[in-house]
């Protein structure tokens, strides 16, 4: 019974998505998606506790054997991250209740929620599936829905951003598909487990094909997860989407592609082949460049959302750096970083959403004195900014600390210095905003609490509380993260 819950989860959200062309009523869709997400979160909790207690569930769709049919694997890894996505999604949905009526037209809201439901569908599928071609399909669904969400506001800049997004991401998808085709050529299979079994013997026979496959898949996914030289679509896309979806895209969706990379490296090629092919070295180089240049470019931005987007580029570098260890310890660090960053960046994007919709302010200049106009939101911004810099007490500190210790454990002190440089750059662009917001002349400014709808404020406080909870007691989620890392990378 429990083993069919993932299917329930996906069908539920797909049905909601399919309702949107039928109904143009924003109210109905809002309710539907809210209930869908609540149900999914509950199912997620059930699944996570189940796989923790009993062990992974393997679902063969349609009852076909695994070489033919599609397999879903629900283990500590995928259960944890689906729960994470639905949880964050639920919170962001609450924020949207207050935000969207100001930002979009009613018909747009209905289709926005429909697209969002489709996006969740793709995300769940991406996490569950154990089939490479199926992964490609879900990646495509994800790309196209994201593209539609970016252009939902129907302004010129949105169309430009969406177009650029589409072009670069299609390049990435095709590259991924090419890699999958190469693998199919060698192994005659699309099931990840079976490919891995085949590859361990076939690698010696077809080294060039395997190398090319990994190259195509890796670069394709790198484009989708905005790893530094391929990040060009991200600042435009994330800064022109509506605030709740920016938070979702920056906080969750970008990381999903990184999780796909994790799956590819650990479940398709295996760490052995990846290490022979110098994948860690390649990832480290990309990560270091991303960490430094992402932050450096963020420093020069004048638009707050673009700045946050560039900051995401640099944070993706951190996550990739943790992954480049290719070990269970590295995965633990990486997963924690994903959680921490989702909370922090989510908060930051949600605050900017509030400032843009309620004060019509999006340039960094205009943040001057904003602390007097929107004290609560700006406090949330300040605290999340501290998290970004890595002030102890926030989850950002724990995450950076873990990365630093993980790298010192393998005697690679260089990366600690890169981490520090990037963090200092972070401080250089987050602190001035906070300072400008709070420490300026408040003459002529009427100081009062902001009149932001309460669902937005509640969401912000939950996010901020989360940042501090993870920062002070990371032990709360560490067991789950460890289990997820172990199921991927083996017991350390």
């Amino acid at each position: 019974m429990i083993s069919w819950l993932p299917i329930v989860q996906m069908m539920l959200i797909l049905t909601i998505a399919l309702m949107s062309p039928l109904s143009k009523k924003a109210r109905l869709m809002t309710h539907l998606l809210a209930y869908g997400l609540i149900a999914n979160t509950i199912i997620g909790v059930v699944l996570l506790t189940h796989v923790h207690a009993v062990g992974p569930i393997v679902l063969s769709l349609g009852g076909h054997a695994s070489f033919l049919g599609i397999e879903f694997i629900i283990d500590s890894f995928s259960a944890l991250f689906t729960l994470f996505v639905s949880g964050i999604g639920l919170l962001i949905h609450m924020y949207s209740l207050g935000y969207l009526p100001h930002a979009l037209k009613e018909s747009q809201i209905a289709s926005y929620y429909g697209l969002l439901a489709l996006l969740y569908f793709a995300v769940f599928g991406l996490l569950y599936t154990n089939d490479l071609f199926n992964t490609y399909v879900f990646i495509e669904i994800l790309s196209i829905t994201t593209c539609a969400i970016i252009s939902i506001a129907r302004k010129k800049r949105n169309y430009m951003a969406a177009f650029r997004y589409l072009m670069l991401n299609e390049l990435g998808s095709l590259s991924f598909l090419m890699g999958v085709a190469l693998l199919y050529m060698i192994t005659g299979s699309l099931n990840m487990t079976m490919i891995m079994n085949q590859l361990s013997t076939q690698f010696a026979a077809y080294p060039i094909n395997v190398t090319l496959a990994l190259g195509f898949i890796g670069v394709g996914l790198a484009m989708k997860s905005a790893i530094f030289p391929f990040h060009e679509w991200l600042p435009d896309a994330h800064s022109s989407a509506p605030a709740p979806s920016s938070a979702l895209l920056s906080g969750v969706v970008v990381k999903l592609y990184l999780l796909v990379i994790v799956k590819i490296l650990f479940r398709v090629f295996g760490t052995g082949i990846a290490e022979t092919l110098n994948a860690p070295l390649v990832m480290m180089i990309f990560a270091v460049v991303a960490m430094v240049f992402g932050s450096l470019f963020a420093l020069g931005q004048k638009d707050i959302k673009r700045m946050l987007a560039y900051s995401t580029v640099s944070q993706v570098g951190y996550i990739l750096l943790a992954l480049s260890l290719l070990s269970t310890a590295g995965l633990e660090v990486m997963f924690f970083y994903i959680f921490s960053h989702a909370l922090i960046k989510g908060t930051l994007f949600l605050v900017t959403g509030a400032t843009i919709s309620h004060q019509k302010k999006r340039s960094l200049e205009s943040y001057k004195g904003l602390g007097y106009l929107m004290p609560l939101s700006m406090t949330a911004f300040a605290l999340a900014g501290f998290g970004m810099v890595g002030i102890p007490g926030t989850s950002g500190f724990v995450a950076k600390f873990q990365i630093a210790t993980a790298f010192l454990d393998v005697d690679q002190a260089l990366f600690v210095w890169v981490l520090i440089v990037s963090s200092i750059l972070n401080a250089l662009y987050y602190f001035p905003i906070i300072i400008n917001g709070f420490v300026t002349d408040n003459e002529g400014i009427d100081v009062h609490l902001e009149k932001v709808p309460w669902p937005m404020l509640v969401t912000l406080s939950v996010f901020v509380l989360g940042i501090f909870l993870l920062g002070v007691m990371p032990g709360v989620i560490m067991p789950y993260i460890q289990a997820a890392a172990e199921v991927m990378g083996g017991v350390s």
Binding site: L171, I208, T211, F230, A279, K302, Q402, S423, A427, I435
Partner: protein
């Protein structure tokens, strides 16, 4: 002005009376407490009952948590209290502080028995802990007492300032952070408090929100963050080496082969040195301390820079002290600290002498005095097992400096409150109008300049003795240190002559003829503190025997080389003769410089440290930009205009921002035109790295 008058009407008189009562109570309590500390036995059953109560209070971390939470609680109460009466509001702070003093006093017998330590496994994932040993206790007591005096002073002073609520809120948060650093039981907790202090003090420095103060505060913040990251790296290194952050003496980092322990110490020195105002990281201090409101400067200079020294001392004690036998490497570390200390001392003096701003002079003086303390720490490491005397000197000087420097900043604050003038050359002859202030200022100056019978003399004598010991037991080369010490002390005398001469005794400025003395309640804390300085100077052994000696004996020092072990005579003929020489030298320097008109000498721009350190990087960025953007087509006009401004007038951060902006625009322009090309390029590169490297090599 209007604001001020309103506050006046709301009853300063009642505050004077009530603050006298509170002060009387506190002073009485403190005297009884010190009497108890001096000889617990003479208190009989009362003493026993007090000790018993203390053990019970110390059995749980509750008291420590209350002490940590009290400042925040009182500040929130003060904000929540919807009363117009400032008196009542500020009295909440005072009463809370008195309660803290009482609680801290209550803990004494328990701490004297042995350190208190509370560990929680949860927290940051690796556990947090607090500990209260004699060393920490000394500084906690010092902080609560000084804070109490400053709070009383602040009541009067802050009437003329805006944003009172914010000021007191962040002052109390800094208070919590400071105490947190003192009682941290491991490096991680200490780091947490350190970062909290950096951020909370920001708003104290930026209080006036003028361009100057925000710039100073930004510099303070960024240097603090930089120091924080330095400690972060040190912390991570320590964690990977030892698997824990705990302050317990079982980790001897010096036992690790290779350069790692020195790297760690270097990072710690940088991290804590930033907070302490050590050369060359002191650049923020002379900017930040003067722009803060005087009560805040008082605490910043009095207590908060000690936090840096304390953190360094703590790390030295727990990570670099041996359990039994000293190794030779400590001597090397000691040399480094010693010379840092000497340079800091000298630099502080040289810059203090040429200042015209009274608060700036005091700030540079703080830099210089921190140098004395670093010197003491250096000598401690050099003398190794005979270093007890150096440690005592350093600790004693920390306590003394906290007292007289906060008092001096109060004096400066009072003068600014009365005259609204910070340039000492425009003041003069104020002694006639403000006799009490002048007397207090003289006492504090005599103390800091090292006049016998005042407290500064005591600690400087102990430090000087440590130098003599290093000459006797280590090497004759330390004579150089001795001479420098004497010369710098003479310089200290000179700039305090300057301070008092131009403010109180020089030619009278007609503008301040009608200066009236109002609101005497400000004098109350100042007089009590001045008396405290005298008391320490007259009974120099009290602090040594009760607080400092136990600390020194708890460490691997030879007991016969501590202050008590040496049966120290502060007023020996030799020391007094030396002091006479120093004072003569001080007068000579002052009048010499005055005759040559060098007192207002300003150093050339290129000599500024920021310029020396950051100019090369700025120039590099400038060059790079000209290289990639020679036709400056991507730069918009405004950016280019800012950019063309003379290189060192632009702050380093603006420079960096402009640089990254242009780089980004250039890069984006490039990549949009050629995304498919970049994809191919990187794919090929990746495949080559993966394939060629692994198959061919």
């Amino acid at each position: 002005m209007n604001h001020w008058m309103k506050a006046e009407k709301l009853g300063w008189k009642s505050f004077t009376v009530q603050s006298m009562i509170i002060m009387g109570f506190t002073v009485f309590g403190l005297s009884i407490f010190f009497a108890y500390v001096a000889s617990p036995a003479s208190f009989g059953t009362f003493g026993e009952r007090f000790a018993d109560l203390s053990y019970r209070a110390a059995s749980t971390p509750a008291v420590l948590l209350i002490i940590l939470g009290m400042p925040l609680l009182s500040a929130l109460l003060r904000i929540g209290l919807n009363q117009r009466s400032l008196t009542l509001k500020d009295e909440i702070l005072l009463v809370a502080d008195v309660a803290m003093i009482v609680l801290v006093m209550l803990l004494y017998p328990a701490v004297a028995q042995g350190p208190l330590r509370f560990v929680s496994d949860q927290g940051f994932g690796v556990g947090v802990s607090v500990q209260l040993n004699m060393l920490a206790y000394m500084f906690v007591l010092l902080s609560v007492v000084v804070w109490f005096f400053v709070m009383m002073f602040a009541h009067e002073y802050m009437k003329k300032e805006d944003h009172n609520r914010r000021f007191f809120l962040f002052l109390s948060l800094s208070y919590t952070a400071t105490l947190g650093i003192f009682i941290a039981g491991d490096l991680l907790t200490l780091f947490f408090a350190y970062e909290m202090l950096t951020i909370m003090t920001y708003l104290l420095v930026a209080h006036h929100q003028s361009k100057d103060s925000i710039e100073a505060a930004n510099e303070y913040l960024f240097m603090g963050i930089l120091g924080g990251f330095s400690i972060f790296v040190a912390m991570v290194l320590i964690y990977t080496e030892t698997g824990s952050f705990m302050f317990d003496q079982s980790y001897q980092l010096l036992a690790i082969p290779g350069a790692t322990p020195y790297l760690i110490l270097g990072l710690l020195i940088i991290g804590f040195g930033v907070k302490a105002g050590m050369f060359p990281l002191h650049v923020w201090l002379p900017k930040a301390h003067p722009v803060a409101p005087s009560p805040a400067s008082s605490l910043l200079s009095g207590i908060m820079i000690k936090v840096g020294v304390f953190g360094l001392l703590q790390s030295l004690i727990y990570f670099y002290f041996p359990v039994e036998v000293w190794s030779d490497s400590t001597g090397v570390l000691g040399q480094v600290l010693l010379w840092i200390g000497l340079v800091t001392m000298a630099l502080g003096v040289v810059f203090a002498i040429v200042q015209s701003d009274i608060k700036k002079l005091l700030a540079y003086s703080s830099v210089s005095q921190i140098g004395y303390i670093f010197l003491g720490l250096g000598l401690m490491m050099i003398l190794q097992d005979k270093g007890g005397v150096a440690l005592s000197g350093a600790l004693y000087h920390m306590v003394n400096h906290a007292l007289f420097k906060s008092l001096l900043f109060m004096v400066a604050g009072l003068i600014i409150l009365r005259t609204h003038e910070r340039n000492m050359y425009k003041l003069g002859g104020l002694a006639r109008h403000l006799p009490i202030t002048a007397a207090i200022s003289l006492i504090a100056s005599l103390a800091i300049a090292g006049m016998p019978l005042f407290n500064g003399f005591v600690s400087k004598t102990v430090l000087h003795h440590a130098i003599t010991e290093s000459i006797t037991y280590k090497s004759n080369l330390y004579m150089v240190v001795d001479w420098l010490f004497i010369a710098i002390s003479a310089g200290t005398v000179a700039y305090f002559i300057k301070f008092n001469y131009f403010i109180f005794f020089g030619p009278e400025n007609a503008m301040y003829k009608d200066l009236q003395v109002k609101r005497r309640s400000v004098y109350l804390p100042m007089i009590v503190m001045a008396l405290g300085l005298l008391m320490i100077g007259l009974f120099p052994n009290f602090l040594v025997e009760t607080f400092i000696q136990p600390v020194a004996l708890g460490l691997p020092f030879d007991a016969s080389f501590t202050v008590a072990g040496l049966d120290f005579n502060y007023f020996a003929g030799k020391e007094l003769l030396l002091t006479l020489g120093i004072w003569a030298g001080g007068f000579a320097i002052f009048f010499g410089l005055k005759a040559k008109q060098l007192l207002t000498y300003s150093f050339p721009d290129w000599l500024h440290l920021e310029f020396l350190l950051l100019y090369p990087i700025s120039a590099l960025m400038h060059g790079l930009l000209l290289l990639i953007d020679s036709d400056h087509e991507t730069m918009d006009k405004a950016t280019y205009q800012t950019y063309r401004m003379s290189n060192y007038k632009l702050t380093f951060k603006d420079h960096l921002v402009a640089f990254s902006d242009i780089l980004n625009q250039k890069y984006e322009g490039l990549i949009i035109k050629s995304d498919a090309f970049i994809y191919t390029l990187f794919l090929t590169a990746v495949v080559i790295v993966m394939g060629v490297l692994s198959f061919i090599l």
